[in-house]
Each structure stands twice: as structure tokens, then as C-alpha cells.
Amino acid sequence: MKVMMQKLIGILAIWIAAALSAPAQAESRGYIIDWFATATNAADYKINCPEDRNGGVMSWLRRDMIAAGYTPPEADKILTTVVGDMDLPQDIATRIFTRAKVNGRSVNVRSYPEAVPDPQIETVKGKYAHGFDLGGAHRANKFIDPDTKQPVDNQLWRAVGCTATFRADPPKKSYYEGNIWDNNLYEELVPHWALQISGADLSKDGKVTVVLSRTTRELLRDAAGQFLKNASYVIDPSPDSHSVLQGEIKNGILTIQPADIRLRGFIYGEIALRNAHMRMWFEDDKVVGYWGGYMPWLPFAYAYCVEPGSASDCTGIYHAVKNLADASPDPATGRNTEISSTFRIEAVPAYLLDTDGHELARPAILH
């Protein structure tokens, strides 16, 4: 009898725990991420970058030409004849971009940015950046979030915030990120990311479950060039881009219990955030917010070497991001392999279905 009672109590405890941890799923809203970019604070540029020395395309091209052995007057003369590195005569471009040496052989700096000296670009000195306190040990490295006024770990912003590429506040994105999101070739071919928010009543404070996953099909655009609302997407059943997160809505703001998330994608190869935090809210029928965490710095930095020079300062960004990486030291080298980061997201309402056609979530307005 006693054993049976103990078993019953145990079962009851498990049931209660499950009921408490997973909120009642009376409402499940579906969204598609339609805006995703590094969270910026370009409005504070003058405070962030008092030296204003990074310049734009022509500035870092001049810098690289001098690094390749041209004298400043020679570089200046050549630059009067071009508007960017794409216009350079082939022999000059070759000299500049294959100035790196690996094992004695000339290699392209975009493939081997490690092989050229750090140009030591200016990094952010300002006080404010969007993000989350990820538990970074160095208080001096922390920003203050302009919205929450809380301390923030966001060394990624510190690394890139003074580059021309990232002088863009929403609705603009950095050149690379805008090119990826708004380039029709990508969006017409590749799957995108879905967001499902479930809870008892999402108009009120309470516990929620957030599911991140990938769609099997590309996003649809509407006639105004934005992403179409209320479209249907099938969720990729693959577990490697599937994160189930527990969170809560409090005073209209949705946050999650820190967790690791991974989304394979078409931007930066994938988004992998360790110790991920989220802060999101509903704006009309959309979701807007920030995701932050520690992410591997190398894929991010390499992304800015893929685009031709007019898009970004490859070597400058690469070395700045590498230098400011602030987590997960490599046991062999001692160098940090991850960098604290924050991304801004927006999501439009969508139907989400599984591969059997069962509805997982529906658009907010149509609830």
C-alpha cells in the first residue's frame, strides 16, 4: 500500500511538473522571420567612433594598396580612376588581393585574411548597444542596452560598429545582410526560418513556448516588396534546425530561459547562439525583437570576406571580430572562439504546418 501510494505521488509529481513547465497550448501563433540583421546603434556613430578613421570603400582600398606596396601618392593616383575595387585593372587588383603569403605562396586575402597584418580598424567606444547580459566576466566590456538600461555583452557590435558596412539602423541592414535578405535569387530558392509562439493566452502575461525551425520552401513576397502575410509554410522535420524554448510574457515582453539555438540558413551559413537570450514583443500582427548569445566568430567574419570589397572591409572586420571574441577559448591556442552578439528580428504572421498537413500554428489576426 505504502509503495503504491509512493508511486502514485511520484506520478502525480511528474504530471504537475510537466503541467507547470509546459504552458497550456490554447493559442499557437505562427510567424516567418522576415527581417534579420546584426543589431546596430548607428545613430550614436559620432559617440561610438570619435576618430572616424575607418572610412569607406576608398579608405580601406587605399590602406590595402599601401599594404601591397604602393606608395601613398601612387595609391591616390590610381584611386582617382576608379570608384571601387571592382574597377581596378586586373594587374593592380591581383597585386592588392593576393598580397597574402601562405607557405611562401601568394594567396587571396579574402580567403586568408589571417595571413595579412591586422589593420587595426577603429572599434566602438560608445556606451550603448542592444543585447543581453550573457554573464561576461569583464564589466569594462559591457554596454548598456538603450531600451532596458541593463548591462549587455555585445563584442560583435564593438568590433563592427565603426565600419561603413554597419552604419545602418532599421529598416536598413548592413550591406551584406541586406544583400542576402533582399537578393531575389536567395529568397526564391532557399528555405527560411519559422517562429512559433504558444501559450494559454498570448494577449496576457504568462508562460509560453517558443519553437524555432526551418521551412521547406522559400518566402513569398507581396506586391509592395515586403514578405507576404498569412502564407503557408511546411516545417522542415529535421532536428538540426529545431529549438524548443521555454519563456514567458511579462508586461508584454517575451523572454526565454537561456538555451542554445541553431538554425541552418542562408545567412552566415547558420545561426548558432550558445546561451541564447531573446526579447520580443508583438507589434500589430508582427513580432519584433532581439536575439543574443555567443556565436562562433569565424563564420561571421568570413562572410565579410566573401563579398567583393565594395561591400565590406574584409581584413578589418575579420581581425576586429577575432580580437574581440570573448568566450570559449580554444584549449590549444587559448584564443576565444566565440563572440557575444545580438541580432534584431522581425517576423510576419504565417500558417505553419507539419509535413502531414497538420496545422501547428496560425497567423495572429486570423486567430
Binding site: R217, E218, A223, L228, N230, V234, R362, P363, L366
Partner: protein
């Protein structure tokens, strides 16, 4: 080069004028009516004769809607100089394609002895075979001889057999015998002093009606044997054609005409107000309705009236977003949107084809809904009624002002407009129907309010009250005018004239339509084999006529 161009141009002109000359001088005792073939008939014919992958690059002149149908307008349509130029360009392009090695091996039944020279035997075989399908009858001796001689001259001039073939085929593609469907009348050997429509004309009539394309070999063979002049032979061919999947093309072409889908060419929506109305939606909206109709009347052979109450349709992702419903499309990224069968739930307001974008979206201006335009379209397209146009001095400001803070809904704006006694007469017959669909915006999305005010969709249809589009759909379904209209339109579509309600043969067709459970394919079968259709057309004095 100049000589070559001159020769080709002369060749084309010769074949075209030869065609025109032969059309102007039929055999003694014959008369004919010529009816221009439509764009879809042209395209289908090229696809059926030469292959679906032959590109047709060119423009077609828009049709003229007469008595509710473009097909009737085709009976009166002549060729403008611009349209001749369009057809000429298309003809050259098509002819140049089909003589390419990849196509001619399958299309032509012979090869010349030497490619760089003429070959009368092979040219004769090709021209005869192709001409039979393009002209929808065998070429007579003079037609064939003239063209083969031209082909030979050009082949020898150009040192290429296929240059001659290309020129001759291009010429046939701009000949009246191709661009027009001829209805030839000959003396009836069985009835003294009577006339009858000849066999090849019957074949064309049946084929363009049921398949929206030129006759196939079996139908031409039946015509050649005289089988289409007998009731049994005619029924046999009509039954064969009705049973063929190609009848779906005929159904699509007819309903596309009847429902006024040519207006899609002029449709646009303000992307700021209706961003969901994308280019995909514009292209897919008519396809949705045509698929719904084809599935309903041609594949499932269901009651025509149930098209107004059915919840079954086909959707793509873009359309599903308009209707606010989920659909399962398991296609891969970058692939075209799939058409997915979808059934609206029983409590959904989307009921019947009138709730689809092809009606509520097509019959709305760019930035707002219009109950008047929808009501007018319903009466004209589906009840075969004529609604007079508004007077020239009407002030539409009150109706068009969607920002009016007092008259927030279309009903309120129209009430002010319709109180004008000059306007009320027409608006009484259009607006009650159109207002029932006000829950559907100009893009087809569903709404319950307009500028914060609740939309009232109640009204009255032929003395019976309804609360909204679902009720109204049932009333429309049960209205005999609806079935009467589709039957009359179907006849007029092929005959070019509306049947007389007093005609006993027509009454039999209508009665059979009802007893067949309003089966549209059965109706088409009845019409196709009816003596009413095959009666010799009435000749106007302006028609080309020849000495008897």
C-alpha cells in the same frame, strides 16, 4: 541577301493571296461565313499540329465582346493592318522553328533526296499533310500545286529544301483559311433546294467548340467519309470528343469567355492598399476558378448549379494567403507553386465561385470594392442580362470617397448615391447583389468591418431575403435564370447567335439540360449534335458570297 528577302516576301504574299483568292472563289453553289479564330484556338492549334513546345512569340489583338461573349464578337471581327503584321511575325517564327532538325524529323513524313535542292515529291507530301490540319480540310489541287511550286522555286534559290517549306507553311499560317474558321454551306443532296453545312465546317465547329482547337485526324477522316452528315456518325464523333480529356480545354475556353476573364489583362490593384494581391495572384485567380469549374463539370460531371455553393476548389500558397487558410505545399524551394485541392470548412464564408478572387477581385477597382460593378458583372455574366452604362454626367465622388468619416462602408456611400432618381433604377438591380459580397475586399480577403464600421451584407434577391453571401449563393443556385443563361451562352459560343426561346429545338435542349441534372458536358453534347446548331447560318448581304 536582298534577292532572298524579296523572294521570301513574294512567296509569302503569293501563298497568302492564293489562299485569299481561293477563299473568294469557292465552288459553284457554295457560300460561307468566316469566323476569326481566337488567341487560345490559335495557340492550341499550333500546339496540337506542331507540338506544345513551339514558342509563339507575338501579340494578339484583344477581342470584342458581343452579346456577352468574345466568341460572338469573333464572328464580326475583321483583320486590322496591325493584326496582320502580328500574325505574319508569328507565322514566320513558327515556320522557322518547325523546319529545324529537332522538329522536322517527327513532324514531316519524308525527307528530300538532297537538302540543298527542291524535291517536289517530298514537298507535296509535307504541304498536303500540314495543309490538311492547318486549313482543316484537304488542299485542293490548285492550292497544293501553287504552294509546291513556290516551295521548289525557293528551295532552288536558297539551296535549301526547308527554306521553301518554311515559306509555304508561314504563308499558310497567315492565310484566311487558317486564321478563320469557315462555315461553308453546300446544296443538300438529300433535300431539293435546301442547303447544309458541309462536313469540314462541321468538323471545325465541333472541334473548336469541344476542344478549343483544330480537328484531329479522326474527325477529319470522319468528315472526309461523310459521317458527320449522318446522325449516328455525328453522335459517334461528339461522344468521342466529350469523352476525351481534351474537352477540358473546351470547357475552360467557354467559361473563361462567359465569365469575362479577358478583363484580367487590364486588372491591377494598388499595392499599398492590397499588398497581398501579387502578380502570382493575378495570374492564378482565373486558373483557380477554371480548375474549380473543370473539376466540377468535366471530371465529376456534377450539377452546374452547385458551382455557386461548392466549397471545393484548388489553391496555391499565394491564393491561400488571400483566403486566409493554410494549405500543404510540400514542393521544394524555388519550384513553382503547386495547385493543391482544398475544401473550405463548413463554417467558412467562402462558398461557390462568386466568393473567389476571379469574381470579387476582378470586378473591383484598384483601391476599393464596388458592389455596383460586382452586381452588374453578376447580372451580365451569369444571368445574361444587360445593365445599361451610367449616364455620362454622373458624379462618382460620393461613392469613390473611401475616406469619408461618416459614410464608412460602401453601403453607406452607395445609399447617398442611389437616392438620386436618375441612378436608382440601375442601382436597384445591381447593388443588393454586390453588397452581399462586401465581406470580400477588392483583393478577395475576408473582412467584417470597413473603416471600423460593421459591414451589413443583408439584402433581397428576387423577393427573398438573405443575410449574406452564403444565403445568397443558395438562392442563386436555385434560380432557373442561371441555368438558362449558361445554356444560351454555350450555344451562342459556338453558333455565334443566341437561340430563340420559342424555338422548339432549343426548348428540347433546355429540357434535356434539366433532366440531365444540369450536366454541362451533356449540354455541350446536345448542342454539338443538334440540328439547331448545324442549320445553315443566315447570310448577310455584306458576307462574301459567290455565284450559284
Amino acid at each position: 541577301m536582298m534577292n532572298r528577302l524579296c523572294l521570301i516576301s513574294f512567296g509569302l504574299l503569293l501563298t497568302a493571296t492564293t489562299g485569299m483568292a481561293s477563299a473568294a472563289e469557292p465552288a459553284a453553289g457554295e457560300q460561307f461565313v468566316s469566323i476569326r479564330i481566337s488567341e487560345s484556338e490559335y495557340r492550341n492549334t499550333i500546339a496540337d499540329v506542331f507540338g506544345a513546345d513551339i514558342p509563339i512569340k507575338g501579340q494578339f489583338e484583344p477581342g470584342v465582346r458581343t452579346d456577352g461573349l468574345l466568341a460572338v464578337g469573333q464572328h464580326a471581327k475583321s483583320f486590322s493592318p496591325v493584326s496582320i503584321e502580328y500574325y505574319d511575325n508569328m507565322a514566320r517564327g513558327i515556320a522557322a522553328q518547325i523546319v529545324q532538325p529537332a522538329y522536322r524529323r517527327t513532324l514531316f513524313s519524308c525527307e528530300p533526296r538532297r537538302v540543298e535542292r527542291s524535291d517536289k515529291r517530298c514537298a507535296s507530301q509535307i504541304v498536303s499533310s500540314v495543309g490538311r490540319f492547318l486549313f482543316r480540310r484537304p488542299l485542293d489541287k490548285e492550292e497544293l500545286t501553287t504552294r509546291v511550286e513556290l516551295a521548289d522555286r525557293m528551295a532552288d534559290q536558297e539551296h535549301n529544301f526547308y527554306s521553301g517549306i518554311s515559306a509555304v507553311i508561314a504563308g499558310m499560317l497567315i492565310a484566311p483559311e487558317f486564321l478563320n474558321r469557315m462555315v461553308r454551306v453546300e446544296p443538300d443532296p438529300a433535300k431539293h433546294s435546301a442547303l447544309r453545312v458541309d462536313s469540314y465546317s462541321r468538323a471545325s465547329m465541333l472541334s473548336f467548340y469541344l476542344w478549343n482547337s483544330a480537328p484531329d485526324h479522326a474527325l477529319l477522316a470522319a468528315a472526309e467519309k461523310g459521317e458527320l452528315q449522318t446522325s449516328e456518325g455525328l453522335q459517334r464523333q461528339v461522344s468521342r470528343m466529350i469523352a476525351s480529356p481534351r474537352v477540358e480545354r473546351g470547357v475552360r475556353a467557354f467559361f473563361s469567355d462567359m465569365l469575362g476573364f479577358d478583363e484580367f489583362n487590364l486588372l491591377s490593384k494598388d499595392p499599398k492598399i492590397f499588398p497581398e494581391f501579387t502578380v502570382d495572384v493575378l495570374q492564378q485567380a482565373q486558373e483557380q476558378t477554371l480548375r474549380t469549374i473543370v473539376n466540377h463539370v468535366a471530371r465529376q460531371r456534377r450539377d452546374y448549379r452547385d458551382l455557386f455553393t461548392t466549397r471545393e476548389t484548388f489553391l496555391t500558397r499565394s491564393l491561400a494567403a488571400i483566403y486566409g487558410v493554410p494549405i500543404l505545399d510540400t514542393g521544394d524551394g524555388g519550384q513553382p507553386d503547386r495547385w493543391v485541392p482544398y475544401t473550405f470548412p463548413s463554417n467558412d464564408p467562402h462558398v461557390g465561385v462568386l466568393s473567389q478572387v476571379s469574381f470579387v477581385g476582378l470586378h473591383s477597382p484598384a483601391g476599393r470594392s464596388s458592389p455596383t460593378i460586382r452586381g452588374k458583372a453578376f447580372r451580365e455574366h451569369l444571368l445574361c442580362q444587360k445593365v445599361p452604362p451610367p449616364p455620362g454626367n454622373v458624379d462618382f465622388k460620393a461613392v469613390e470617397d473611401t475616406t469619408n468619416p461618416i459614410r464608412k462602408t460602401a453601403r453607406e456611400r452607395l445609399a447617398a448615391h442611389a437616392n438620386n432618381p436618375v441612378c436608382a433604377g440601375c442601382h436597384k438591380i445591381t447593388d443588393p447583389i454586390g453588397l452581399a459580397f462586401e465581406n470580400f475586399s477588392a483583393s478577395g480577403t475576408y473582412r467584417t468591418t470597413e473603416h471600423g464600421a460593421t459591414i451589413d451584407t443583408a439584402g433581397e434577391y428576387k423577393g427573398v431575403k438573405f443575410t449574406g453571401p452564403v444565403d445568397l449563393a443558395q438562392l442563386i443556385r436555385n434560380d432557373p435564370t442561371v441555368t438558362n443563361c449558361v445554356a444560351r451562352r454555350s450555344f451562342a459560343y459556338v453558333a455565334g447567335r443566341t437561340p430563340s426561346e420559342e424555338d422548339s429545338a432549343w426548348k428540347n435542349i433546355e429540357s434535356k439540360f434539366k433532366s440531365d441534372g444540369y450536366d454541362v458536358l451533356a449540354l455541350m453534347q446536345e448542342i454539338a449534335a443538334s440540328p439547331l446548331l448545324l442549320a445553315p447560318p443566315v447570310m448577310n448581304t455584306g458576307e462574301l458570297a459567290v455565284k450559284r
